[in-house]
């Protein structure tokens, strides 16, 4: 059985669904999304789903500003009746040393200069006013942007998927791409686990941590590796964390969802497995409980509901790999987001659609080209866990 599509997108996370929607909105007919699990079953649905202007490199700052603008009116734009649980209570980045505060100051001035972000530098006293439940021990200051926040990653993905379907996009879940058909110079289509061959001039790799596996199907090596990260969630408690919080010193981040649960994660790249294992570890439970009760002593009495794991798609500079692959026409990459992919999905979907349809991208993302690994000119993103 054989059929055709204009574009096949591999991966039904926020990026795959956002690309599909934006392509259809640009008038591309016959777009197919192939997802091996259910929508948002990978990194998207497993993330804490924060969004923030507060990055340290120009490209990410510009992307974040544009993405947050889209998130602010996303439910409306996509006519999504359930809402995306958008919570713009701000994002607080804690500094525990003078050099850290200096870096946050530098990042903030870059953010404010480039996109008029409105990021503030707060003193410990101002942080105490903002978040009275926080243990200030060791805190020398922080940066805060009141328009940052968090959302529900499932709703955001479903919102794009619904809107995409309305525009004629087909989404196949529980279907895996097992082969990418290609010649020496271009992609020709895909073969799926349903036994179906879909001929297509464009194939997009938005497979998250599986992006390396997918790229190897066409003989393209990307420096991408999966890295497990884990999250813990508590029972719902009275609202006392009005903003998302991150500490690079402790590798911790946390938020309180609209219904009161507290989500908390610890980035522990040294201790975490670098493969596709998504199971939970008890060591994480011990770590996160120790660190979280340090940050928020009131949590000592909160009960844990569950913990889970997800995979970051890490690259050497913690930056994405985006755009066409020279020498292989029709093959596009949207992978390697290294833990901050959810929040940039809305704007990156648009940019990918612009690239595929030959338009000028809304934000200059040329840095993200796979070519940078040949020249070795890497600019790591400093603001991630």
């Amino acid at each position: 059985m054989a059929r055709t599509a204009e574009v096949v997108i591999i991966g039904g996370g926020i990026h795959g669904c956002s690309i599909a929607y934006h392509l259809a909105k640009c008038g591309v007919k016959n777009v197919l999304v192939v997802e091996k699990g259910f929508l948002a079953s990978g990194g998207t649905g497993r993330s804490a789903a924060g969004f923030r202007h507060q990055f340290g490199t120009e490209v990410n700052i510009r992307l974040a500003a544009a993405s947050i603008k889209k998130l602010e009116r996303l439910a409306e734009e996509l006519d999504y009746p359930y809402g995306i649980e958008l919570f713009q209570g701000g994002y607080l980045m804690l500094a525990y040393s003078a050099s850290q505060l200096e870096q946050l100051r530098k990042n903030a001035s870059l953010q404010n200069r480039l996109v008029n972000a409105g990021t503030l530098i707060l003193s410990p006293r101002e942080i105490a006013e903002l978040l009275p439940g926080l243990n200030l021990e060791g805190v020398v200051g922080g940066s805060f942007n009141p328009r940052d926040g968090h959302a529900n990653p499932f709703h955001v993905t479903y919102a794009y998927a619904r809107a995409a379907r309305r525009l004629g996009v087909e989404i196949q879940t529980y279907t895996e791409v097992v082969e990418i058909l290609h010649s020496t110079s271009r992609v020709l289509g895909v073969r799926t686990s349903r036994g179906e061959v879909i001929y297509a001039p464009v194939v997009v790799n938005a497979a998250g941590p599986h992006g390396g596996v997918v790229a190897r199907m066409v003989g393209v090596d990307v420096p991408l590796y999966p890295e497990r990260h884990q999250i813990l969630v508590t029972e719902p408690v009275e609202m006392f964390i009005p903003c998302m919080v991150i500490s690079f010193t402790h590798g911790t981040y946390f938020k309180q969802t609209p219904h009161g649960s507290i989500l908390m994660g610890v980035g522990d790249p040294a201790g975490e497995v670098k493969d596709f294992n998504q199971r939970s570890s008890w060591q994480f439970l011990v770590d996160v409980a120790t660190k979280m009760t340090f940050h928020l002593p009131a949590l000592r009495r909160a009960r844990v509901i569950r913990q889970w794991a997800g995979l970051y798609d890490m690259t050497p500079d913690s930056q994405a790999i985006l755009g066409p692959v020279p020498g292989l026409d029709g093959f596009y990459l949207d992978i390697g987001w290294s833990g901050h992919g959810f929040q940039l999905g809305p704007i990156v979907g648009q940019i990918m659609a612009e690239m595929i349809t030959g338009q000028e991208p809304a934000v200059d993302v040329s840095y993200f080209s796979i070519e940078r690994f040949k020249t070795g000119q890497l600019i790591p993103e400093p603001a991630c866990v």
Binding site: R279, W282, Q283, V286, V304, Q307
Partner: protein, 364 residues
């Protein structure tokens, strides 16, 4: 919290009939056992079972459930190789085979060489309007209230489900002084043993087969229920509604195996309706597809307490044997337990279970 792990030879999760027998059998073979139960007492659901058991003498027949629990608990408590932890909830089965245990507000981690999961089953519920009104209980919960705590849930009850539990609990509620307005059963036949059903019928309780509950009503708590008849396809027949003034509705609509820990452990599961839902695939010794992880009792498939005890014994025996204990007596002991188990499951009563087991038992 500390990053400390205790090692153990065999951990048994759940101190009901299956877990108690697993612990005893393994300890008798010479293994050291840690038995964990989240309740403050051992015995599981046996402690509320005041009726006499069926079967032969070796299955503790004609004994009452709570007496069996007392006897097994005594044996376990007096066995030097069994370490009992009550009030201890196993909350996680981690990637490296470590169990997370919460006991009275403290957490510890246990890494056993073998794990026997005997977590039992949970009561199912039904979807109908106002099913969240106070006064609506699971039959097991009512049995606990009445038989363990001596509390009557109300004055007049509608029982939904005419399986053994529904009918036995109805009779016990009559004995305790409640009025049973009716028993409804969606199937066209009564599922319970006739001896139990006959008792409630003699007491004047109507049993409506091919009937179900349509809705409950009441302002702040249950004031009544509407039942109606089902046609041959299980669809309700409008116009057959009966209104029953009751203050209690008791749901006895089956149990689902509690397999969460086994799923976390990575055991392969299969959906087997005859066994109550998703159950782990396992071999004749109750070992799952994860080496060293066993299942026994209702967690392996909803059956009844006598079979659970035999399964527990088989799992405990093999777990100990696989660690080098009880090598001499193993074959004889195994044959004896299996013979008893087969006897329990023989005949027309065991037909459904046998069919279910044929889908769940595999060669490892």
């Amino acid at each position: 919290m500390k990053r400390e792990v205790r090692f153990a030879e065999i951990a048994v999760v759940g101190g009901g009939p299956a877990g108690l027998c697993a612990a005893l059998e393994a300890a008798r073979a010479g293994a050291r056992v840690v038995l964990l139960d989240r309740q403050d007492h051992l015995g599981g659901q046996l402690i509320k079972q005041t009726h006499r058991f069926f079967g032969s003498k070796s299955h503790r027949a004609s004994q009452r459930g709570f007496k069996i629990a007392e006897a097994l608990t005594r044996e376990v408590a007096s066995h030097p190789a069994v370490e009992v932890h009550t009030g201890a909830t196993v909350f996680g089965f981690y990637e490296d085979g470590v169990l997370g245990v919460e006991q009275k507000g403290r957490v510890f981690y246990l890494k056993p060489a073998r794990v026997i999961v005997a977590t039992g089953a949970a009561e199912r519920t039904l979807a109908f309007p106002n099913n969240d009104l106070p006064g609506i209980y699971g039959a097991g919960a009512v049995q606990t209230l009445v038989n363990v705590y001596g509390i009557l849930p109300g004055r007049r009850v509608l029982m939904v489900g005419a399986g053994n539990i529904g009918v036995i609990v109805s009779y016990q509620l009559l004995q305790a002084g409640m009025e049973v307005a009716a028993i409804v059963e969606a199937a066209p036949v009564i599922g319970a043993y006739w001896v139990h059903a006959a008792k409630v019928r003699r007491a004047g309780v109507p049993i409506y087969t091919s009937h179900t509950i349509k809705e409950a009503y009441g302002k702040r708590e249950v004031e009544g229920a509407v039942i109606w008849q089902l046609d041959g396809d299980g669809k309700p027949i409008p116009g057959t509604e009966k209104d029953l003034a009751v203050d209690t509705i008791c749901l006895s609509v089956g149990l689902s195996p509690l397999i969460e820990l086994l799923a976390q452990a990575g055991c392969r599961l299969a959906y087997v309706p005859e066994l109550g839902g998703h159950v782990p695939l396992r071999d004749e010794n109750l070992q799952t597809t994860v080496p060293g992880v066993y299942v026994a009792g209702d967690a392996a498939g909803v059956e009844e307490a006598s079979a659970a005890m035999m399964e527990g014994a088989l799992a405990g025996l093999h777990a100990a044997y696989s660690l080098g204990y009880g090598q001499q007596d193993y074959e004889a002991r195994r044959a004896a337990i299996r013979e008893q188990l087969e006897a329990l499951r023989s005949g027309p009563v065991g037909e459904k279970i046998r069919r279910g087991l044929s889908k769940a038992i595999i060669q490892l």
